[in-house]
Amino acid sequence: MSVVQPIATSAALPCSVYFTDTVQRSGVGGIRGKIVVVHPERKAQRALHRMVGAAGVPVEVASELETAAIDADTIVIVDASLAQSRKPVARAWIAVPGEGLSAAEAPVVASLLAAGCDHVIAHPMPILAEELLATVQKLLRRDVFGLEKYLTWSADVRSYTLDDTRDRDAAVAELAREVVLFGLPDRVSSMVSVIADELLANAIYSAPVDDAGVRHRASMPRDQGRALSGRDVVTLRWATDARYVALEIRDRWGSIDPVACATRLAAAQSTQGGMGLPLAYACCNQLVIGHAPGALTEVVALLDVRFKPTELGRSASFHVFSGDAP
């Protein structure tokens, strides 16, 4: 059992350091790295520290970026209002909505996406804590793929593999039918259908690239069938644990451009460019892109089914992870 030992905890100090050396030596899978929480409010520092304390690595807190000890192995959790400041190199920057008592404002989320932020959390507690810890653990363990990371152990995961491009409609229809069978409302079934359709279309038509990197299937007529085998295989998995409905769509091309995705989402109301991803983003509460360049793209969309939409953020959270394909 490891104990978190505060070395310096005075709120008067600009930077408080917490140390968990036992965990660092013996943590799961030899986890390395540290977390720095940067927030001007002491109460928020405490709350955020508590949320990520379970990750099992040293956690430091700081009131401002200038006093935070950040290096290339640091995961920085920063108040959304500070996230657009000029930032030193770190392993990851995670923008969070203040103390977590209210959601991030939609314009703030849009500006962070436009700036190419990899991790933007839009929702208040308790979703903030769940999302933040899952994000931190994925980064620390360098284990970034799979919808299971967002669900409780008890969730039953359903899986479909598309053998032909024309299987898309059938897969979406079956998914929608199962969602209703699981007792979820028609509203959720409708949202899930739109998300799955768009993400499957991206995986089938936008992901394949030729040797020159051209997306040569992008303008293929959608009413023509094409067998999906080898690298063209597309899978859809989904599950629910009565907190979230999670959808996961994978292709084997790993050709997605996450920065372009973020900026496209920031300009969601434009009809210039692809509208599929902005539509999927608008229908979910959290969009998570994982990519292993040249090998795998995974998009996970999460819908929170516990709360009314008005109790959540107006915008969805957004995350981009890079890692080795499993």
């Binding site: 259908s193 279309a201 009413d223 539509l279 008005t310």
Partner: protein, 144 residues
């Protein structure tokens, strides 16, 4: 269910899916003169390709000088139209379906409402249902 479209004078009715297989633009040349009324109350699904078709139809009608009024707009179409800046003020909407939830028994429904988003009685317990989503998801399009 695939797309079913019909034209009766200056009235267009669309039901089913608006997706990759739907070609709406042809309707612009078939509809009569004057204000065009479009009923999408039975539309069940709209994806991004279908949304582009929908925008092309609205554009074609407006470029031919006709006013467009939407009746019984399907919830799925209404929320997606509110994401598109180009559609603001481009159409008149007399009624639409919106997601409501009953705070008493938890029932959900998509009744036909107008831009006042009135309270709706729950069909299961009779309590007043509330809009289940942020009002701007339905009302942004009304801001010209």
């Amino acid at each position: 269910m695939k797309t079913v479209m019909s034209v009766d004078g200056n009235r267009i009715t669309i039901s089913g899916r608006i997706d990759d297989y739907t070609h709406l633009q042809v309707l612009a040349s078939k509809v009569g003169s004057g204000e065009v009324v479009i009923d999408t109350g039975e539309v069940t699904f709209v994806n991004s390709v279908g949304m582009r078709e929908w925008i092309r139809l609205i554009r074609a009608l407006r470029e031919s000088g006709r006013a467009v009024r939407l009746e019984r707009v399907a919830d799925v179409l209404m929320t997606q139209m509110n994401l598109i800046a180009e559609l603001r003020g481009a159409v008149t909407i007399s009624s639409f379906h919106a997601q409501y939830v009953c705070p008493t028994c938890g029932a959900e429904a998509a009744p036909l409402v107008d831009a006042t988003l009135p309270p709706v009685p729950c069909s299961e317990c009779g309590a007043a249902m509330e809009l289940a989503d942020f009002p701007e998801r339905y009302l942004t399009i009304f801001k010209g």
